[in-house]
């Protein structure tokens, strides 16, 4: 088996199977959780524990609550590095290496399976690039790559996200249109990659063997893919089209104030105001908007 070749050659089996495994767990599993959390911007409207007057306001509250919970987790950086960044880097880099050894003969053999094979590699490239952009801009603070040089803050999750997608103050800009479209393509690509990856993983591991078993598994994967796609699209539609930036910001301010006190709110707002290119105008404008209604408190 080992021909005295390099590391990849000697550990070929292990690497390929780890590549397959990491795609499902943790990466795929995380994507499910991530998109469920993000789509709370819509399903938060029916969250009975949210207080805001408008449905989207309740979405903002629910999403903010989820984000605060995640950011309050102990050893977050370690969890992120071990459960997300490392597996994604492994899956992505190895995936690119393997995909470079592929060829495309869809023009000659236009079977559905062959098209999925080609799309799996295409969505892999697209998705990997998208994840890098997504994490770099919203997590690593590469705000110069966002439409209007705005950073994301987990204290103001919805409003700063709308700004990072569209432009300062959640107002549409031309780069914002491109970024939002990029998100649509990136999210769709990754969901397809996940669902089709689940389908092919059943061959990789020999879980579904017979034609019938693979067909049934295929239906299930299509169903899972459709549901996850809907989660992703609804989250994106919520942040891009439905959120009122200023209303969201007011709700977030109130939540920070209630949770950490007015002093802390002033402090982080000052911090934001003093960082150049950080939504300064938007925060100032939002501060002048009247108070949005009853105090949004969740988990009392």
């Amino acid at each position: 088996m080992d021909n005295g070749q390099g590391f990849v050659q000697r550990n070929y089996f292990l690497l390929r199977r780890l590549h397959s495994l990491t795609g499902v767990v943790p990466i795929g599993a995380f994507m499910l959780i991530h998109l469920t959390t993000n789509s709370s911007i819509l399903w938060g409207a029916i969250n009975g524990r949210a207080h805001a007057a408008t449905p989207i306001g309740r979405g903002v509250e629910t999403f903010q609550d989820e984000v605060s919970f995640i950011n309050g987790m102990p050893l977050l950086l370690l969890i992120e590095a071990l459960v997300l960044w490392l597996p994604i880097a492994f899956h992505g880099i190895l995936g690119v290496v393997f995909a470079l050894g592929a060829s495309n003969n869809v023009a000659r053999y236009g079977y559905q399976g062959n098209k999925r094979y080609m799309l799996q590699r295409l969505t892999g490239y697209l998705g990997f690039a998208f994840i890098l952009y997504h994490v770099a801009t919203l997590r690593w603070g590469w705000e110069w790559l966002t439409p209007a040089n705005t950073a994301w803050s987990h204290y103001f999750a919805t409003s700063t996200l709308a700004a990072a997608l569209k432009g300062d103050g959640g107002q549409w800009t031309v780069p914002g249109i491109i970024v939002s479209l990029g998100y649509f393509i990136g999210v769709s690509a990754l969901v397809f990659h996940f669902a089709n990856g689940l389908l092919t993983a059943s061959i990789t591991w020999g879980i579904a063997v017979s034609q019938r078993a693979r067909q049934r598994w295929g239906y299930l994967c299509t169903g899972i893919g459709a549901v996850v796609m809907l989660l992703g699209w609804s989250a994106l539609a919520g942040f891009v089209f439905l959120v009122d930036h200023d209303e969201a910001h007011q709700i977030e301010r109130r939540m920070v104030e209630l949770k950490y006190g007015p002093e802390f709110l002033k402090e982080i707002e000052r911090e934001h105001l003093h960082r150049p290119g950080m939504e300064a105008a938007a925060i100032r404008r939002a501060a002048e908007v009247p108070y949005p209604g009853p105090a949004p408190v969740i988990r009392e």
Partner: protein, 269 residues
């Protein structure tokens, strides 16, 4: 038989565009031939006509087109070539279906994943090398009699029979986007073996006596160029002229490899 085939097709002229090559490593070129075709003709009979009349459509004298064929009934796999862009056996390729009208064109190319010997004749050694790599046989040679063969249920026999109809034609390899032409024999061990070989490994893994070599076959398929190089495009099963459930074979051997791999981890071998 009348002079008219089932579809009401009549005698006519068909243009054959053929990708030609003088020998290994030589550049290839295209030549066209105008062939008078009788109903029920196949590609081989037309190639026979061209061999007897090696004159191109421009009236230029050329060498006879070389091809490989043997059984003429889609059982040996020797005459496999790429016809109108898709790989298949030329003996079972009826002109009436491909070129029913006067002046229709049929394109013939050699298989794309094997080195060309000459014209439409390719060298499929790598496929047979793959069968040796996975020990696709039943070991019965020895110093003493092994006695009677193992019993087999009709169900099991039925499943294995389909796998055994593989004629190593190489269609599955030609259509596979993960299987690449590799003329350097030294690199075969690291290049994907392809569906045909995996299917044969499964056939002999499931044979009562052949299964003694199962661990060795799985080891061979676990390494580079083994089954993990499969990209799940599933073209193999679509183009297989024998309708062998190749993806099922791939999944079945993968299952065996999964179990084999875990066993190896925990037994420390």
């Amino acid at each position: 038989m009348s002079n008219t085939a089932r579809g009401g097709v009549r005698a006519r002229n068909v243009i054959f565009r053929i990708k030609r090559c003088e020998g290994p490593g030589k550049p290839s070129r295209w030549e066209a031939f105008k062939v008078p075709v009788e109903p029920n003709a196949n590609v081989i009979s037309c190639l026979n006509w061209i061999a007897a009349n090696p004159v191109t459509i421009d009236g230029r004298q050329t060498t006879p087109v070389v091809w490989d064929s043997n059984c003429l009934e889609e059982v040996c796999g020797a005459c496999t070539m790429v016809i109108n862009g898709r790989v298949r056996q030329s003996c079972s390729c009826l002109i009436d279906e491909y070129a029913p009208n006067e002046g229709d064109t049929i394109t013939l190319e050699p298989m794309s994943k094997f080195p060309v010997v000459r014209d439409l004749w390719v060298d499929r050694q790598r496929l047979f090398w793959g069968l040796r790599k996975v020990k696709a046989w039943v070991p019965i040679d020895g110093t003493y009699s092994l006695g009677e063969g193992p019993r087999e249920t009709p169900d099991h026999q039925h499943d294995r029979y389909v796998m055994s109809t593989c004629m190593s034609c190489g269609c599955c390899l030609d259509a596979c986007p993960q299987y690449h032409k590799e003329e350097d024999e030294g690199k075969w061990d690291r290049s994907f073996v392809g569906a045909a070989v995996v299917n044969q490994a499964r056939l002999f893994n499931e044979h009562g006596t052949g299964r003694v070599l199962k661990p060795e076959r799985l080891d061979a398929l676990m390494g580079p160029g083994g089954l993990d190089a499969c990209g799940k495009a599933e073209n193999c099963v679509k183009v297989c002229p024998k309708n062998i459930p190749l993806v099922e074979s791939i999944a079945a051997v993968n299952r065996a490899i999964t179990i084999h791999g875990f066993k190896r981890i925990f037994s420390g071998k």
